[in-house]
Structures are given as structure tokens and as C-alpha cells.
């Protein structure tokens, strides 16, 4: 008798949608959403954690000095803005390299690895963190051998010449192509200069002010009809803590 009750109850459960949750393994039920059964709860998207500019978490002090010297030639101080390092771009890339960007977490890492055609894209195993660690060391060695000085000790005009030759791919490093290393630096310094200040760069929204980008304003209905004129909109960040 007892067994029959259990069986019968089981059959009823089997025929309803709630049975699914019961039959599913522990923990998975929350990810089944049913219509007409109240609010669907979304998985949280956390806001970015503001970068603490006093902390270095990826570079050694030597690496940091070299990156600062490179970045400050790519975006130098002049009448348009402060330098890249004063805008926080070195802090920015230091924190980026320690995180998911540095680890290339979004990249497909399945093998086998082999060189392809230019159309097939980067097939290298190196992550951005690897490129910086290896690339900075190889650049430092190369520069010292070539000029007898560290890059950061060179006078500014020679630093510019060195970077121009890198950009043109004229130097041969052991592992990394000099033009690719240059592109990596240029991409990242611009990211630091022009992304939201919450990530440690673009301090005081200096990059946005230079070009007149209003940042995270998110609503231009008031000014959409004011065409072809200078609008002078004070930029805002998604974070008010920097």
C-alpha cells in the first residue's frame, strides 16, 4: 500500500513541469525559469572595481620605469594634455595585465598551434602578460646592446627614433616581432588614455577632454537638434570615485 502511494505520487510529479526541478540535480533548479511563476532573477553583472593607483600588481619597478618611458613618448605631455603616465596609463595597464585581459581569458587556446596565413589571425600562444614580460626584457637587452643605455636613459629624440624603428619592424628581437610589440604598447596606452577613469587611466578624464567626448552622459536628446556646433559638454565617468 505504502509503495503504491509513493509510486502514484511519483507519477503525478512526472507529469508536471515542477517535476523537472525535482529531478534535476541539486543547485541547478535556480537556472530553470518558469513563466507565470513570479519574477525571473538575473545573474548579477558586477560593476568594475575602481583601480587603486597606489598599488602595482604586475610590473617590477624596472619594468614599470621602461613602460613609463615608452608610454610617455607615445602620449607625451604638451599643451593638449599631461603625459600618459600622469594620466594613469601605466597604472591602467599594470592592472589590466594582472587581470583577465593579461591572461587572454577570452582567447581560444585549443591546440594544435601552427602558423597560418595572415588572414587566419594570430595563432600565437602568448598572452598579453607574456608579451609584456618577454617583450620588455628583449627590448631592454636590445636597446642596451645597440646604444649602451637603457631605453629610459636615452635622450628624448633617441627614444623617438628607437620607437619609430620598432614601429617599422626594423629590430629583430628573439621572440617577439618589434612591430607587434610596438602595436601592443600603442593599443594599451590609448586604452588607458581614453577608457573610463574607473580603470586607472584617463585621470580627470583628460583624454576625453582633449577630444571633447562627454563620457557616460548617455542621453543627448536635448542637444540632438544642435547640429554642427561646439557643444562643450562636461564629461562624466561611470565612477565618481577617481
Amino acid at each position: 500500500m505504502r509503495r503504491r502511494v509513493v509510486l502514484k505520487a511519483g507519477l503525478v510529479l512526472m507529469s508536471t513541469a515542477t517535476a523537472a526541478a525535482i529531478m534535476r540535480p541539486v543547485g541547478a533548479a535556480a537556472r530553470v525559469l518558469r513563466g507565470g511563476a513570479g519574477k525571473w532573477i538575473a545573474r548579477e553583472t558586477p560593476p568594475p572595481v575602481p583601480v587603486d593607483p597606489s598599488k602595482r600588481i604586475f610590473f617590477t619597478p624596472q619594468e614599470e620605469n621602461l613602460v613609463k618611458a615608452i608610454f610617455d613618448q607615445l602620449i607625451p605631455a604638451d599643451d593638449l594634455s599631461v603625459s600618459a603616465s600622469d594620466a594613469g596609463c601605466v597604472v591602467f595597464i599594470d592592472h589590466q595585465l594582472a587581470g583577465s585581459y593579461g591572461k587572454a581569458s577570452s582567447r581560444f587556446k585549443g591546440g594544435p598551434f601552427q602558423e597560418g596565413t595572415p588572414e587566419q589571425g594570430d595563432q600565437s600562444k602568448l598572452t598579453p602578460a607574456d608579451i609584456y614580460k618577454i617583450g620588455l626584457a628583449e627590448m631592454n637587452d636590445h636597446c642596451r646592446k645597440m646604444s649602451g643605455k637603457a631605453f629610459e636613459e636615452l635622450p628624448a629624440p633617441q627614444q623617438v627614433e628607437y620607437l619609430e624603428a620598432m614601429e617599422a619592424g626594423k629590430f629583430t628581437y628573439k621572440t617577439i616581432k618589434s612591430s607587434e610589440l610596438f602595436t601592443q604598447f600603442l593599443t594599451n596606452v590609448q586604452e588607458g588614455f581614453l577608457s573610463d577613469p574607473v580603470y586607472g587611466g584617463n585621470r580627470n578624464m583628460v583624454g576625453w577632454r582633449m577630444i571633447g567626448f562627454p563620457g557616460a552622459r548617455y542621453d543627448y536628446r536635448d542637444v540632438a537638434e544642435l547640429k554642427g556646433q561646439r557643444l562643450e559638454i562636461e564629461p562624466v565617468s561611470i565612477s565618481d570615485r577617481i
Binding site: A28, R31, V32, G36, S106, L186, W208, M210, G212, G228
Partner: protein, 590 residues
């Protein structure tokens, strides 16, 4: 632990535009529907409010809203003599990774295809009987006409609150719209947005040249609007964080704000999130399918039986799932036989990049679809006699670039990319750069196809999809023609300098900036099982209870974004299922 869920009337694989529209139709008709989505449920207030969404580094550059290649990518090669290699980094393939799919991060260009796009084989026979097509070009009709699809376009536009200006209503040309469009029964549900300064310049220039500029149809909603499902939509704010971003204003049409709120109220709808469908299960006699097998987020294998299976993932994943399930006959490029993976096509792009001298374009006042277009050289809107190619492009002034990281290299030719000179040039160019996009048609070719990769696998050990694609002779001739037209317009705009590009001048690469995300075809619809995977109802020829929804059904691409058409096709298929299939299951071709 393996488990079996209670049987559903219908299971839907992937809850983007196609999946959610199908779910809405089927649940409203009383069917018990289970949808399975690979990603989590996401809502405006929790996942992309303005305080989170307005972040170019996170979404525009690091692309956090997309499905990362680490989860699944595809392999690529230009021709079958090469070894395909995986696309390891972000590229032109832009799949969604949460409920809403690509319908959440899309740029909201919400087009109808032109009348001719559905029937190019017939059109060639009737209008260009002497034309010699490029060798190996595949041109075939869809088995459906624009007129058959029109009521479903109309319904989609209302559900999504699409903004725009009609060009032809009930056969009557309307001032300010696209005079070349197929006839519509209604005006757009919401009005077009205010044109950008660059839209204005292009509008005036092309009008003076005798062309017919109009605001493009857009899912950037033109005003407060209550859609037919009773859901309130809001006006677009020109925020500039559009394509690649979720909208924080309830003002970019998406399944999440336009359709799914209705599904949350229906007790005959169940959604399994964070579950990846691994294969479609076949019956013993292989004449029908029985349901789908999926991997849930705890690592367990579930089986969802159903009377009807609708596959509505992204185009590439639709094709891959058919391959992984061994349903249909794979295409063999050496014999030309087989249909699965055949007729892969794309979007053939041309551009003009212009640099003015003393403008304030204010590019931050922007949407993914803030655009003025001419259709004078699109599709078969002009006489191709003697031109030696089919198709054309929508030529548009697109104000979709306003966030700075995507613009640092938008500089006149020869400008240095760094140092004080770059800073000065960039500050100037930010306000003076403009773009003309020629979004071109694509016809497939015998040598372009999709198949399973023999070497590379995803994290679940399943073969990746392999793409073999390059531009064909028709693409090269067509886009060279379009580039010439763009160049003519550039000359008249008052720009100080410009450069024009025709993408088929180089080999195709998924890593080329400004290329399209519109991967098309591979499981196409048609009237002949020898050349199509699906019949004209998007019903599989080999399994009558399997329906495949999406741009995978298109044998060719129009000079338009694909979303409006795949949404209308879904509603067309839903009607056939509800009116005919449910009453009498079997082939709808009878």
C-alpha cells in the same frame, strides 16, 4: 547524472530574436514550450543599466557581452587547399552569450529585404537572360516571396517598435522614405530619429545628385510605444553605446524588452538557462527528431523530449548543430552534391572614410543605426545589363562611431599614430571624421561552404565548425562598382580628403576591421531538396518536425542587415506550424 525532462510540445534551441518570437507565437497558441539557452537570463536593470553599460573598454573593446572564442570559435581558411585554423581572438564573428542572443548587442538596423532578393534566379531569367554569371556562382530562389513575408515584417516591426519612414505604402510612393522598397501595408510604428550632422550632409549631397536618401529602419525606438504584446518601449537617447552593448534605456529593440516580458507571464513557457544543446536526437527510423540533448551548468546531461524541435541559435551554430546531429547530407565541394553547409554567403562591404576640415560632427550623438541611406544602387534597383555582376549595396552615411577607442586611427592618410602630432590630429579628426558604408549583397559560390573541422574541438570535445570562404568574381565586380559610386559621393560632400575601400580587393579575413558580422546561409531554404536543407517553411526536408530559424536559411544576402528578415521568416514559420502542422504533422509541402 543524466536525466530526462517531461516532454514538451515544442523545444526551442536558443532564445534570441527567432527563438523568442517563435516561443511567443507557440505559447499564445496554447502549446507547452521549453526554450534552452546557453547563457544566463539578463535584464536591463541588473545587467546593463547606464552605470554599467556606458563602458567602452569593457564592452566595445573587451566585448564582454559576446560569446568568447574560448567557449567556442570556428576555424577558417580562404580555400579548401589550406588548413583551416581557429579564430583565437575577437573577430568579425559576434555571437551572443545570454538570453536575447545577438538581439541584445546588435546595432539595431532593422531592414526588410528587397522584392528581388528572394527571387534572384527568377529575376536573372526574366531580366538578364543573356547575362553570364561568374563561374561557380550559386543563385537560387528562396521559395517565398516578399509579398508572402510582408504581414510578418509588419508584425515584427510593431513588436520591436521599429523607427523609420515608409517609402511605399500599398503601392503608393511616400515622400522621405525609400522609394525602392517593397510595398508595405503600414507606416513604421515609431518615427525616425533626428538625423546627425553627417546624415544631413549626406542627405543634401545625395539629393542634389538625384538620388533618394531616407532614414534607415532602426530598432532604436523613435518614441514611447506600447507594442502588440502590451509592453511599453521607450525613446532612444542617442547615447552612443549601442552595437556591442546592452541598452540601459529600454529603447533599443531586443528580445529581452520586446518579447520575453510576455513569456515570463505564461505558465506554458519554461526556460532552461546556462544549458548548451549538444545534439538533436533522431527517431529510430530517422524520419523525425525526438528532442534535444543538452549539457547543464552542473555538468550533467539532460534530455528534453518534444514533438517539435525549433533550432534558433546564431546562423553558424544552427549549421553546426545539424552537422553534430548528423541530420542532412553534408555538401561536397568537389561534386557539388549535398546541401548541409552549402551556399554559405556573407556581406560584401565597401567604404568611404572622409575627413572634413572645420566641422563639429559631435559623433558622440550616435546610435548603431543613425543613418541616412540611398538604395539607388542596392539589389536589383538598377539595370545590370552589361555590368557583368548581380547585386549592389545600400550606401549610407552611418553615425555609429562616437566612443573614442574605436576612433584613434581615424586619421587622414599619412598621419602619424602617436606622439604630439597624433594628439593634435586625433583631437581634430574626432570632430571631422565621417563614414560612408556600402553594405553589399552576397551570392554564394561553389567553393565557399561550412563543414566540421577535423582537428579542432570545443571545451565539450565537439568538433568546431570550419568556414571555407573567400570573395568571388561577382563580389569583386559588384563592390568595385559600389566603391566608384561612394567615391562620386565623397567628391561632392565638401570633405577635404577621403579614401575608399572595396573589401573583395583582398582575401577575406575574419580579423579585418570594419568587416561585417553577417554570416549567412549554410542550411538554406528553397523548393528543391537537392539544393536546400529546408523547404519554404524552414522545415527540414529530412525530418518534418524539425524547423531551423535564422539567417542560415538565406541562399543569398541582401544589401541589408539580416535581423528583420529572419524575424519575419520566424513568424511566417510559426503561422505554418500553428495553422497547419499542429493539426496534421507532416511535410508542409503538400
Amino acid at each position: 547524472m543524466d536525466y530526462t525532462r517531461p516532454k514538451a510540445d515544442a523545444v526551442i534551441v536558443g532564445l534570441g530574436w527567432a527563438g523568442s518570437l517563435m516561443a511567443e507565437e507557440l505559447t499564445r497558441a496554447g502549446l507547452n514550450v521549453v526554450a534552452i539557452e546557453r547563457g544566463p537570463w539578463e535584464t536591463t536593470s541588473v545587467n546593463f543599466p547606464p552605470a554599467i553599460a556606458a563602458d567602452e573598454l569593457r564592452y566595445g573593446v573587451r566585448r564582454e557581452i559576446l560569446k568568447p572564442p574560448s567557449v567556442e570559435t570556428l576555424t577558417f581558411r580562404n580555400d579548401s587547399s589550406q588548413t583551416a585554423l581557429p579564430g583565437r581572438d575577437w573577430n568579425s564573428w559576434q555571437m551572443g552569450y545570454s538570453v536575447g542572443g545577438a538581439g541584445k548587442h546588435w546595432a539595431a538596423n532593422a531592414w526588410r529585404f528587397s522584392v528581388a532578393d528572394f527571387q534572384m534566379a527568377t529575376r536573372v531569367r526574366e531580366r538578364y537572360s543573356n547575362m553570364k554569371l561568374a563561374d561557380g556562382l550559386i543563385v537560387q530562389d528562396w521559395g517565398i516571396t516578399y509579398d508572402e513575408l510582408e504581414p510578418h515584417y509588419d508584425r515584427f516591426e510593431k513588436i520591436a517598435g521599429i523607427s523609420g519612414k515608409a517609402g511605399v505604402i500599398n503601392g503608393q510612393v511616400q515622400a522621405g522614405g525609400n522609394p525602392f522598397e517593397g510595398s508595405r501595408r503600414n507606416e513604421f510604428p515609431t518615427p525616425p530619429l533626428v538625423r546627425s550632422h553627417w546624415n544631413d550632409i549626406f542627405h543634401d549631397t545625395t539629393e542634389k545628385m538625384g538620388y533618394h536618401p531616407f532614414p534607415i529602419p532602426a530598432g532604436t525606438i523613435g518614441g514611447a510605444f506600447r507594442n502588440p504584446l502590451g509592453i511599453e518601449l521607450a525613446p532612444c537617447t542617442y547615447c552612443g553605446f549601442c552595437g556591442f552593448y546592452g541598452c540601459g534605456n529600454f529603447s533599443k529593440s531586443s528580445p529581452n524588452i520586446c518579447v520575453i516580458p510576455a513569456l515570463t507571464q505564461r505558465s506554458n513557457f519554461t526556460l532552461l538557462t546556462e544549458c548548451t544543446v549538444l545534439r538533436i536526437n533522431k527517431s529510430k527510423d530517422e524520419k523525425t527528431v525526438t528532442g534535444v540533448t543538452f549539457l547543464d551548468s552542473d555538468g550533467n546531461i539532460g534530455y528534453q523530449p518534444a514533438d517539435i524541435v525549433c533550432v534558433s541559435a546564431y546562423q553558424l551554430d544552427n549549421v553546426r548543430l545539424l552537422f553534430l546531429s548528423q541530420i542532412g547530407r553534408p555538401y561536397d565541394p568537389t561534386t557539388g552534391e549535398g546541401t548541409l553547409g552549402r551556399a554559405y554567403n556573407y556581406q560584401t562591404m565597401s567604404y568611404g572614410f572622409l575627413y572634413f576640415e572645420n566641422e563639429y560632427m559631435n559623433p558622440f550623438i550616435s546610435t548603431g543605426a543613425l543613418s541616412t541611406q540611398i538604395d539607388d544602387f542596392n539589389g536589383d534597383n538598377f539595370d545590370h545589363t552589361g555590368l557583368g555582376f548581380l547585386g549592389g549595396a545600400g550606401i549610407q552615411a552611418l553615425s555609429d562611431q562616437g566612443t573614442p577607442l574605436g576612433m584613434t586611427d581615424r586619421l587622414p592618410a599619412g598621419t602619424t599614430q602617436w606622439g604630439s602630432a597624433w594628439k593634435k590630429a586625433f583631437a581634430h579628426s574626432y570632430q571631422n571624421y565621417a563614414k560612408i558604408q556600402g553594405q553589399g549583397t552576397s551570392y554564394s559560390h561553389r567553393g565557399s561552404y561550412l563543414s566540421l573541422d577535423p582537428t579542432y574541438k570545443d571545451a565539450n570535445g565537439q568538433a568546431l565548425l570550419r568556414m571555407t570562404f573567400d570573395y568571388n568574381e561577382n563580389d569583386r565586380k559588384m563592390s568595385s562598382f559600389v566603391r566608384g559610386k561612394i567615391d562620386d559621393i565623397c567628391k561632392q560632400t565638401g570633405a577635404k580628403s577621403w579614401e575608399t575601400v572595396s573589401f573583395p580587393d583582398k582575401h577575406n579575413s575574419p580579423f579585418r576591421p570594419y568587416d561585417s558580422s553577417h554570416t549567412i546561409g549554410g542550411a538554406v531554404m528553397g523548393l528543391d531538396p537537392a539544393t536546400s536543407v529546408l523547404n519554404r517553411y524552414q522545415q527540414h526536408w529530412d525530418a518534418h518536425n524539425l524547423f531551423v530559424l535564422g539567417a542560415s536559411s538565406y541562399p543569398n544576402n541582401g544589401g541589408y542587415n539580416p535581423t528583420g528578415t529572419l524575424s519575419a521568416l520566424t513568424l511566417w514559420t510559426a503561422k505554418a506550424i500553428i495553422d497547419n502542422y499542429v493539426k496534421s504533422p507532416g511535410s508542409l509541402m503538400r
